[in-house]
Symmetry: C2
Subunit: 267 residues, 2 copies
């Protein structure tokens, strides 16, 4: 299937946890000092490498300099900001977007818990896109110089950083294919399948999802106007492929959706 997004399979996640799945905190013996570290974060499998030794795990814990809350609608960073850190999303949902000089805006991605944002800033030491929280969020701030330093010691971390960046490149290749060659309904179908797949990997339903973004934001991401997105939704509902109530979507016929993205040969 079209690989639109960071879609590494994460079979190790607790399956089918339909709740909002915030990172569980370990309320240990010492109730006063609640330690939220990578080593006991249930998103570790998503944003950190696997198979680390206990010592390595401890080093990795030092990567997260701090945590930062971002209110819905607020920006984590914006175009032109100095680049210092990558951010691992603990909770919440983000969009990244670029703007051209004449004011055109393009959503370049939607990111959820366990995904890493900020990679755009590395090349020029300043961010080239905006990251905006679509719901109240919390991120782990990982100073990039620490990442680079620790990478020289922990090989798995080095690999991991490379893979995260490569994955983003591959994701964007998929978006280019979508934007360059698909029709409106195909785009929306691919988008929804990708979203639901990533949510499923995080323990949510395979068929139900709540969109965190507006039709306009979906449209920007897919290179469509909001009216076109709305019409495509309506078409899917008419065809019995899904149920839509505002931002609540329930996919009734996932196979039909897949057929829209990849038409079966010689129907």
């Amino acid at each position: 299937m079209l690989n639109l997004v960071n879609s590494e399979h994460i079979d190790s996640l607790t399956p089918s946890n339909p709740s909002a799945a915030p990172p569980r905190q370990t309320y240990g013996v010492n109730a006063g000092a609640i330690k939220i570290a990578c080593s006991n974060c249930n998103l570790r499998e998503l944003c950190m490498p696997l198979g680390l030794s206990p010592e390595e795990l401890e080093q990795i814990d030092g990567l997260v300099a701090s945590r930062r809350r971002v209110k819905r609608g607020a920006q984590l960073f914006r175009q032109g900001d100095a680049f210092t850190s990558l951010y691992a999303i603990r909770t919440g949902f983000f969009k990244t977007c670029v703007a051209s000089e004449d004011g055109r805006e393009q959503v370049t991605g939607f990111q959820m818990a366990g995904e890493v944002i900020g990679l755009d800033g590395i090349v020029s030491d300043s961010h080239s896109c905006n990251a905006i929280a679509l719901e109240d969020a919390e991120v782990c701030v990982m100073p990039f110089d620490r990442i680079e330093e620790l990478s020289t010691q922990v090989h798995a971390l080095q690999r991991h950083v490379h893979k995260i960046m490569s994955r983003e490149i591959v994701r964007e290749n998929g978006v280019m294919l979508l934007l360059g060659s698909m029709r409106a309904e195909e785009r929306l179908a691919a988008f929804l399948l990708n979203l639901v797949q990533r949510l499923h990997a995080r323990g949510f339903s395979q068929s139900e999802l709540v969109l965190r973004m507006t039709r306009e934001e979906i449209g920007s991401y897919l290179g469509l106007k909001l009216e076109t997105v709305s019409r495509a939704f309506s078409k899917f509902v008419d065809d019995g492929i899904m149920e839509v109530r505002q931002r609540h979507v329930r996919i009734v016929k996932p196979d039909a959706l897949r057929d829209i993205v990849n038409p079966p040969p010689c129907v």
Copy 2:
């Protein structure tokens, strides 16, 4: 301006060298052993980090396991191939493209001397796109495990790898903006400006260029049909912005082209 591509400024390159600029070889004392190494390759500033110590330079030389010639039309790697190496282009011109299951194809980029391709393969240890030479080419094969190993010792190399990947991410963001929000003529104008800029950084003319790809390949990259590309070219010629004879393009009014990409506010 819209950053469509690996467009780091490389002022250190020999300016205005209108010849084909193959990497100059150092014909030293020992004429029998012509050594083509990073340390004496004039593309070093493009594909390798700057400011290395002599020892580091020597280590870097060991990165290139071999060189490989790729005939025009041949594939350097294809979707599904095992990933082992990154490739630095010494001479020639490539396109990379992805194909979906139902046969749709999307050109994801055009690469020229000094640029690095293969980054897509890191995440899954297999390539997710095809790299095809558009003219006879030669590449430096850099095994990725060597790169990772050497990165732990040569900090500048580590930085460089990160920057190359980040630059590719930023480039693709720019392409998404182009595909998502620009009209046909804007897309072609942005594409030509980007091409000529990169060529200029390599010592070629600011105003003249020879396209190495067909209208169809340009169209695929820009999300347009070849006829639309052709019509846009004709429009530019009619408007006196450029002269076009087949693949030979001469930009007469670069400012007019820029205005097409970024319309001046309140004309």
